[in-house]
């Protein structure tokens, strides 16, 4: 038994190590011949062998949380490693990161430092940025004469394009004039990164761009999953255990439930990193007495990775804080364009009288609760101006959706939900029902279907759904995408009214 446990612990350690070492995982993407990997390799090796200057921009979308910068950077690393193994002495690499070296002087210093290190020269900290840039040009010339290539890698390229772009200019200009062999590789998540360049810089840039798209298909996911979790039999001593582990894993992967979890995960964030994070959490949860991964591990991992941040925080609020949130929501429903603590207090007094709620507290206690809400970032000030005004008078706004508030109130057994049902919102609903009747049939059915789907999907991922469905709706009906959220909210309410007809409807469509 004990042996089993130590075995499981060792297995877990090995799996964790594998998941933390991202480079090896990205190497599985470099195999296909048509990939960006081979294109980039061609460009760089071209300049190494032919002795010409080159510049490339690697672009990958980040969009809503997808972080393909990772992928790019990893591909880049792999390419450079490959090339180094081919022509070891002929290449030196200078790596800069936009986050660290967006300052021009700082970047020049870093270049000089790395070049010194490469050539066993002594780097002086005292050197001015002029010295450094002259040194860089001199080194480039020397490299050109010796037929060696320098590769400048600029990660987060868009950050270098801020300000006067002196660094980019001097780099690209040096490549124009000096007989050197250099490649500038920029990596950025902004697709318009080359548009950020100044005219004088842009004209010196070669306008070669490689676009990286997130791996979306099943086979990619499968590759990552199996590559990172299965044991290779030849390198593992306990064949029995490894075999059993692998077959269990394959069974899980074939399970439809698991595929649902995986789909939900990629709806939320389809990047490889997110997938790896998910696998890491699952591995951490692995039961050590059995030593095998189970489907439950993956389910809980998915839940713990995609958290409904705001909702959790609202659920932690005290009753008084909830009342303040509700008052703010009511003020927003009344279409009051700006409100502050004083108007919230007025509303609070109002609902205290009209609903006869038992909790009524003095102004300073409410103010403290209000400050808690500010601290929790459920509400925030409208503007950064007016620091001289005290908190009571500064206009505020809600940072949560009405859905989140509703959900949190429902789960709180002490809170009277009726308070939230403001008369104005009911008017809205009736108004909306009128409009609904005027809609063409197909359209209304679509809306309703989406709302139904919504309601079902909510249990897992409410945060991104509203965005997502708003998007898809505007895809099919671009005319009404203006007001889409209010439509959606109203349609959710409608669905709640006609809950039993929901299944019929779905069946219809």
């Amino acid at each position: 038994m004990e042996q089993q446990q130590t075995l499981a612990v060792n297995a877990q350690i090995e799996l964790r190590r594998r998941l933390c070492d991202r480079k090896s995982i990205f190497s599985i993407f470099s195999d296909s011949p048509n990939s960006n990997h081979s294109k980039l390799k061609f460009i760089v090796s071209n300049s190494v062998t032919e002795g010409c200057n080159n510049s490339v921009l690697l672009l990958g979308p980040r969009g809503c949380g997808q972080k393909e910068v990772e992928l790019r950077a990893k591909v880049l690393d792999l390419v450079i490693e490959d090339l180094k193994s081919e022509h070891h002495d002929l290449i030196s690499v200078v790596k800069l990161d936009g986050i660290l070296h967006s300052d021009d002087n700082c970047a020049l210093k870093e270049i000089a430092k790395q070049l010194c290190l490469e050539n066993q020269l002594l780097f002086s900290k005292m050197a001015s940025s002029d010295d450094n840039s002259q040194f860089m040009i001199a080194v480039l010339r020397e490299y050109g004469l010796a037929h060696k290539t320098v590769i400048f890698v600029l990660d987060e390229f868009d950050l270098f394009a801020q300000g006067k772009q002196r660094l980019l200019y001097s780099l690209l200009d040096a490549m124009q004039s000096v007989a050197s062999q250099a490649v500038v590789i920029g990596a950025s998540c902004r697709l318009d990164a080359d548009q950020l360049l100044e005219k004088r810089v842009r004209s010196r840039f070669s306008h070669r761009k490689l676009l990286f798209l997130p791996p979306n298909k099943e086979d990619r996911k499968r590759q990552v999953f199996l590559h990172s979790l299965t044991w290779k039999l030849h390198c593992f001593t306990l064949v029995n255990y490894a075999n059993k582990f692998n077959t269990k894993l394959h069974n899980i992967f074939k399970d439809t439930q698991f595929m649902e979890v995986l789909d939900a995960l990629s709806d939320y964030d389809s990047s490889i990193n997110n997938l790896l994070n998910f696998l890491f959490v699952a591995v951490c949860d692995m039961a050590l007495d059995s030593g095998y991964l189970s489907l439950d591990n993956f389910k809980t991992a998915a839940l713990s990775i995609q958290r409904p941040f705001k909702l959790e925080i609202i659920q932690g609020c005290s009753i008084l804080e909830l009342y303040i949130l509700v008052c703010m929501k009511r003020l927003e429903d009344k279409e009051q364009n700006s409100y502050n603590f004083n108007s919230v207090m007025k509303e609070y007094k109002g609902i205290h009288v009209s609903y006869q709620i038992p909790d009524y507290y003095s102004q300073n206690v409410c103010l403290r609760a209000f400050e808690h809400l500010l601290q929790r970032e459920l509400i925030c000030f409208m503007d950064n101006r007016g620091h001289s005004l005290s908190i009571e008078f500064r206009p505020v706004k809600l940072l949560i959706s009405s859905y989140e508030l509703h959900q949190a109130l429902k789960s709180n057994r002490f809170f009277p939900v009726r308070v939230l049902k403001c008369p104005s919102s009911q008017v809205n609903l009736i108004d909306w029902q009128k409009r609904w009747n005027n809609f063409p049939l197909i359209l209304s059915q679509w809306l309703l279907a989406i709302a139904c789907w919504f309601r079902r999907a909510f249990s897992l991922r409410f945060k991104f759904v509203s965005k997502w469905s708003g998007f898809s709706l505007s895809m099919c009906m671009p005319a009404i995408d203006d007001d889409i959220t209010s439509y959606m909210e109203a349609s959710i309410q409608l669905v709640e009214v006609e809950r039993d007809s929901e299944d019929n409807l779905l069946a219809n469509i």
Partner: protein, 552 residues
Amino acid sequence: MIETTSHSEAMSKEEALQVTKRTTRSSTSTPVKTPVRTQKTIKSHASLPSNNLVFEGEPLSLEALISNFPGRRLQILKLLNFIGPLNTSMLPLFLYGGPATGKTSVLLQSFRHLQRPFVYASCRTCHNPKILFESVLNQLLSHRQQASNGYSCAKKCEKPSDFVHLLQEALKEVINTLKGNSKEKMVPKESEGQDHKSMVYLIFDNLELVRDWEKHSVIISMLFKLYDILKLPEVGLIFISNASPDTYYMNTGSLEPLPIYFPDYTEDELYQIFSRNQENPKLYSSFLDITLKPFCRITRRVDELSIAFQSLFQKYCEPLSDSGIVPTGDMKRMLFKDLNRHLAPSLNETFSIPSHLSYEEEAKKDKVRWKANVKNSGHGEALDDINFHMSISAKYLLISAFLASRNRATLDATLFDSTGGGDNRKRKRKISEASKEKKETAEEELLMKGPGTFPLERLLAIFQCITSVMEDSLDEGVQESGSDLGAEGGNSELMSDVLLQLSTLCNANFISKGGTCPLEASTRYRSTVSEELALKVARSMKFPLSQYLYQK
């Protein structure tokens, strides 16, 4: 030897303070002995610099750790799961949750349980990037700031790029010595082969404060990307923050840390926390039965509740002669009745300042008068008098500032002109007859805009008017002896240091100095005093403030 024991390193001192502060704040909840980080002398342990990074004292068992933090079992287990067994690399973690939910203490105590080296830097004590970077490096290099080295840092670094370089070097060194140690140790202690630790953990606390720094986006994205930049699998990164990860806009293209949420304590958990370590648990639990529920509706933060309960429990115990007594049913009812008096006012109080004895006696006279009021209104008005001393001229100045903020400048003439009194009344009637809508919008405006601003000249003019009116009324009382000279003399005395008083009031935040008006180019002031306070001050002076308020 004093040198060796005293925490002369400024950073570590702050850190120890931070740690002790946290534990004292939740001292009712956790019996944790103040965790003191080892500051072993370099002389004796020159070969083991990384020993400094481990908690001193006997390790905490897992059961003790979990029982020390009621309601935090899931979080602790999850945390330990993520950190994993010895020498396993891990992805960055992100602990978040409201204030006073035990994030930092759970994490630090977990490290005490694990006995692994870590570096702790709080962005609250290290309030700018330079200090933060240098504190981390100092701890890693086990460098102490002391008088002998002029409180200098091990490495000077201001820019993130320098920090990354130095951090990389320092970490490599530390990890190498750790590995070296383990190899040395392996020889004599072959049976204890598990003793080699090669992971170092960096903990960044209060990360949400970084967002207020200059160039915060660079620092935050650098910290989140640190795992990628360092490329050292032996380094674990842990972030602690009040704000949830979605408020950081982590589109930096870096590794997203794994979130661990510390939810606010529920009522039952609060009950467990507060009933820990009480001298008389039964008495306290009967106290909690009454108080916890109403207080939980207002706030669920341990720190605020413990302050409120402290004074309330004293009142609860007042009728008891022996604090070790076990309450029976009857006695509970009696105590409950007693406490009920105090409960409502204390619910509506955020904090109370214990006033001086001499002052209390003074206030007692007023209290008799006010008690009737308190009973009538049921709540509020617990603060019955001004709890501070102020000179008379300062009080006048406060009132005039309040008037200047509330009233429109155009009305000054009618309000303060002695001949305009009759006119004033007429005007008032007109307003009340005017449409209600107008009044409502005006009210709304007052709610939204807050008190108005005024130039210094207007303040002084009003001040002069008020004081002269008051002098006149005083004069009427002593009309026989009243000579004009005396009155004028008093007046000039009042006026003499009025500017001084003004600056005092500004410093005390009764009056705030606004921006300069672009047209007049003079400083404008704004009174931040609430109406109740102004009325109280006026009452203490017997000044008829309500007469001069336009909207009332």
